[in-house]
């Protein structure tokens, strides 16, 4: 009888210990979540970084609108991207620099960015801002600087303040004109048309690539999302 009481008492004590363990576990989860949130970089209008590096990387390559490279190049590589998309950022930083260095800088191909706004309304704001920067010859500086400073997807960081900081960092000279243009119906219609085009091509994610050239059957080939710079370079070679 007394042994049963002792067992019951011990079990009660252990249940209390388990409750304390559960509380501790919940605290640990909360700490993990806080660390996860605080460790997120980018999306900060007050600390836009990398403008000089990007300017150096792109120097000497012609830009017109969102087209990078010789406008007369016989092969056109088109990227359909969403500026909020983290995979597009990965491409911009790890894959495209090699393609730009080997195929765009020498005039073999031109690289065109088209907006495929799949994430949320802020993607449309970002896309319109890029097009407006392109009108002042800073489209690719804007795109690359945006990616460099990209924040957490759909977290609300794409504010007017953030976009203005990117435009200024990208070297857009007339911010007033850029502001008017990015909010104009014409620019927003262009964003919508590019996204519709991506849908018509059957693209389902970003970034997706399309190559156009004289050796491509039908003039246009959908590449999807190649895994390496080499695949994009091969596609360019095969198209022209």
């Amino acid at each position: 009888m007394s042994t049963g009481g002792v067992d019951q008492e011990r079990r009660q004590r252990l249940i209390k210990l388990a409750s304390a363990t559960a509380f501790l576990a919940i605290v640990v989860i909360a700490v993990l979540i806080v660390v996860s949130q605080s460790g997120s970089d980018g999306g900060d209008a007050s600390s836009v970084e990398g403008a000089a590096e990007i300017r150096k990387d792109l120097s000497g390559i012609p830009q017109r609108g969102l087209v990078l490279g010789d406008p007369g190049a016989k092969v056109k590589l088109i990227e359909f991207g969403d500026l909020q998309c983290p995979v597009c950022k990965g491409y911009a930083e790890e894959i495209l620099p090699e393609v730009i260095g080997s195929k765009v800088r020498n005039g073999e191909a031109r690289l065109e960015f088209r907006n495929f706004t799949i994430i949320n309304e802020e993607s449309i704001d970002a896309a319109a801002a890029a097009i407006a920067a392109g009108e002042q010859g800073r489209g690719w500086d804007f795109i690359e600087l945006f990616y460099k400073n990209q924040g957490i997807e759909a977290s609300g960081y794409v504010t007017d303040e953030f976009l203005t900081a990117i435009a200024e960092g990208a070297g857009v000279e007339d911010i007033e004109r850029w502001n008017a243009s990015r909010q104009s119906g014409r620019t927003l219609a262009k964003v919508e048309a590019e996204t519709s085009e991506a849908g018509d091509l059957g693209l389902s994610g970003t970034p997706s690539f399309v190559v156009e050239g004289p050796l491509v059957d039908g003039g246009k080939r959908v590449l999807g999302t190649p895994g390496s710079a080499g695949e994009l370079e091969d596609a360019i070679e095969g198209a022209g």
């Binding site: 388990a18 919940i26 790890e94 997807e153």
Partner: protein
């Protein structure tokens, strides 16, 4: 309904924790060189999740943290008595809670689903259920 024997619960926990460590190891290896695990259904979900800033926690890959978590859960499953019961329950609760948070991020922030992460979340849910049952039913009992 009678609860399964503690030995059965520990065997299930051992098997599931080992499987979880395997899944986390695969994800960690696939992401090590900037890549992503292969998503069988396509759609780029695994690439999107792997490229997300949420795939790291204080500079450490979430998958690497997962390996550590599963190995600790494996240790708790192998440990007899109340120490194993309490440790298993606490660790599984942390793992389960963090998995819920990561699944929320996939669905509502990253907007992409990685099948391997879903598999890991499912395994963690099983581990939490088994360890909670072990703790509630057997704590205080003879090992």
């Amino acid at each position: 309904m009678q609860a399964p024997a503690e030995g059965t619960l520990r065997t299930i926990a051992t098997f599931v924790a080992t499987l979880g460590a395997g899944v986390a190891t695969y994800i960690a290896i696939a992401e090590a060189d900037g890549g992503a695990p292969a998503c069988f259904a396509g759609g780029g979900g695994c690439e999107t999740v792997a490229a997300s800033s949420h795939s790291e926690l204080a500079g450490i890959g979430v998958a690497v943290i997962g390996i550590g978590g599963y190995l600790l859960l494996l240790g708790a499953a192998l440990l007899r008595g109340d120490a194993g019961r309490l440790a298993g329950f606490g660790l599984a609760l942390v793992g389960f809670g963090f998995s819920v948070y990561l699944t929320y991020l996939e669905l509502f922030v990253i907007d992409a689903i990685c099948q391997w992460c879903v598999a890991s979340a499912a395994l963690m849910t099983v581990l939490f259920t088994v360890n909670a049952l072990r703790m509630v039913r057997y704590v205080g009992a003879e090992p």
